[in-house]
Symmetry: C2
Subunit: 219 residues, 2 copies
């Protein structure tokens, strides 16, 4: 897989801009669990996922975390270059959820291209608007959807991403994804089990009745 | 006050772009309470506040609302032109909190300028990043700050905006700004009164001890 065919606006850049990107592009490979960007501590650059899966989340002072969104193959991440935009005043952490390969365009190179290229700047606008929409959706979930529906939605999404109904995931992990507490999630999962929607065992959750979970999620 | 001196990147547009804006620019005057943009129902255009005060908020299906941010003199609003960016997938409502005058650049005109002008596209990026940061801050407030601190922060902000310690505001209004319920806010305000931080009367809240409220807010 080549960067040229993976970067959506490649053909709209001039040959000088293309050369600057190819001359500075770096390719990385990280193991599952690696933290590749950590708040304001670094400004890695614009990131494009080649393969694998990244999770973007925020951390409270007390160490609680909430997942903002995930990045899959060919997704781009702007916030690893957040120092590029002086108006971005918040910090995210990016970690690999699977072994992941990605490209990085250095912040200074991308910034200089943004300043001269309307297509690049507009593409960046669309990227940001799309992430903004993700976060607005999440905020509405937190504010207005009750937790039972959010847990149901989370389990169904995990099953779809992993391609299995046997989820190897702890209650603690679900709690931190949803900005909740382990005890609360455990109670909810037991309720789900009593309703026949899941089967719980040590370190695993099996989806027993996806239709019923979907019904709850969409209720 | 002229649009030319109020629009930050005016000098970076060419004369043709400037003429297209001036030829299509509309000026509006609305009364306090007017709703000037309502979700996906309309796509007014890029909005620049001349005087007054606007509130941007989201509404749940059940009619609960939460304030995302406010717009004051010379602030610009991108989301009244959200149809311009196809990646914006959420709806906001914009209402006047005071009698307000504002300019509108029609969506199609601004969009055509964005497509050819890197400075305009980058300026739009900064605007969006700044609003995104507001919303991230708010989400962190909701997730991680306890309500007492949020109510204290809200009262202090109101007093600062209105330039008075005598706030004419109902508990219902505070509740909807903070995505909470009237009963909860009333209880919290009574607690504040018992602590000597505010004095409550019919339809009004007086800030009695701003230092103590600030201390709570920053705790």
């Amino acid at each position: 897989m080549k960067f040229e065919s993976s970067f959506p606006i490649w053909d709209k850049l001039n040959t000088d801009q293309q050369a600057r990107i190819l001359g500075s592009l770096a390719s990385h490979r990280v193991k599952k669990g690696a933290v590749i960007h950590n708040g304001s501590m670094d400004c890695t650059g614009l990131l494009l996922v080649k393969s694998g899966q990244l999770r973007v989340y925020i951390l409270s002072e007390e160490g609680r975390e909430i997942t903002l969104y995930r990045l899959f193959e060919l997704d781009m991440c702007l916030f690893s270059a957040s120092c590029m935009l002086r108006s971005i005043q918040f910090d995210v952490t990016i970690a690999a959820e699977k072994d992941t390969e990605f490209w990085v365009v250095p912040t200074e190179v991308y910034k200089s291209i943004l300043e001269e290229s309307a297509p690049a700047a507009n593409y960046t606008n669309e990227l940001m608007a799309s992430r903004f929409s993700d976060v607005m959706w999440l905020m509405e979930q937190i504010m207005w959807k009750s937790l039972d529906r959010r847990v149901a939605a989370f389990l169904l999404e995990e099953a779809s991403i992993e391609g299995t109904d046997q989820l190897k995931i702890t209650h603690e992990t679900i709690a931190s994804h949803l900005g909740s507490h382990r005890e609360v999630i455990t109670r909810m999962l037991r309720y789900f089990q009593n309703e026949g929607m899941v089967r719980l065992s040590r370190g695993a959750i099996e989806i027993a009745d996806a239709d019923k979970l979907e019904e709850l999620r969409d209720s």
